[in-house]
């Protein structure tokens, strides 16, 4: 058993669609323990789900031999969630989804995950793999912040 610091919870999931729900359940429990209101917990759950889906699909290419890591670090006023995969990270930040273009078939109907993460949490940052330790997205929600 590895020694870890005080308030870190780590989860490792198989790279199979559906398992993002396990990360949602874990993140929701940590956020509830920290006293986040239920609307903020819903925001976090959706952001964590989208981060895990991307890690499973785009990072680990649905290879079930690879796992997705989720590291939840709680301090007295914020919760940071890192979702780590074995890929090389995002090539570029996608443009904001444009519903008119989507509805008129001028833009892929998909491509809303990263936008939702940014819209739902207080901080969302994508970090590309440097030393083979995996790429990750870092999501932060703060206790004093109102739900947008």
């Amino acid at each position: 058993m590895i020694v870890t610091a005080g308030t870190t919870v780590e989860v490792r999931l198989p790279s199979r669609l559906g398992f993002e729900k396990v990360a949602m359940g874990t993140a929701a429990s940590v956020a509830a323990l920290m006293g986040f209101p239920s609307e903020r917990i819903e925001d976090l759950k959706t952001a964590v789900a989208e981060a895990c889906i991307n890690a499973i699909e785009h990072g680990n290419h649905l290879n079930e031999q690879l796992s997705v890591g989720v590291i939840l670090s709680a301090t007295s006023d914020e919760l940071e969630v890192k979702v780590i995969d074995n890929g090389s990270g995002i090539a570029k930040q996608p443009s904001k989804p444009d519903i008119d273009r989507k509805v008129h078939g001028e833009e892929d109907p998909r491509g809303m995950g990263m936008f939702l993460m940014q819209a739902l949490v207080d901080e969302a940052e994508w970090v590309k793999d440097s030393k083979g330790k995996g790429s990750y997205v870092r999501l932060v929600i703060r206790l004093d912040k109102e739900s947008d």
């Binding site: 993002e20 819903e42 989208e50 989804p97 519903i99 998909r110 809303m112 739902l120």
Partner: protein, 117 residues
């Protein structure tokens, strides 16, 4: 290991007498829901409005939202009116964030959605 998506089709009358198709979804709406969601849309007949019932859906992700946008694409082609009800306040917010509210009215329940047609 995902909760299967189910869709049933109901035909009802709006208070004004107009005939309305209701697509009632249950389970998850995710990337594995393509067949049931778009398949249900294929079975919509006539030119009347369509209501999407999400009362029994508790998980929707961005791939599921993309399927809903695909229904809106089809509706837009023929000028068909679409509205949705039964979304939690969280998913009403999410649908509004991505712009769906611009193409489909979002209502709390079925009577409210019907009254607004």
């Amino acid at each position: 290991m995902q909760t299967e998506t189910k869709a049933t089709i109901d035909h009802i009358s709006a208070p004004g007498g107009q005939s309305v198709t209701v697509l009632r979804f249950s389970g998850d709406i995710s990337s594995s829901s393509k067949e049931p969601v778009l398949g249900a849309w294929q079975n919509v007949n006539g030119g009347g409005p369509v209501l999407l019932d999400f009362c029994k859906v508790d998980y929707i992700n961005s791939s599921g939202i993309a399927l809903i946008i695909q229904m809106l694409m089809e509706a837009d082609k023929t000028g068909r009116k679409v509205a949705a009800f039964g979304l939690t306040p969280h998913f009403q917010k999410v649908f509004t964030m991505v712009g769906i509210a611009k193409y489909a009215g979002l209502y709390k329940d079925e009577p409210t959605a019907l009254a607004a047609l």
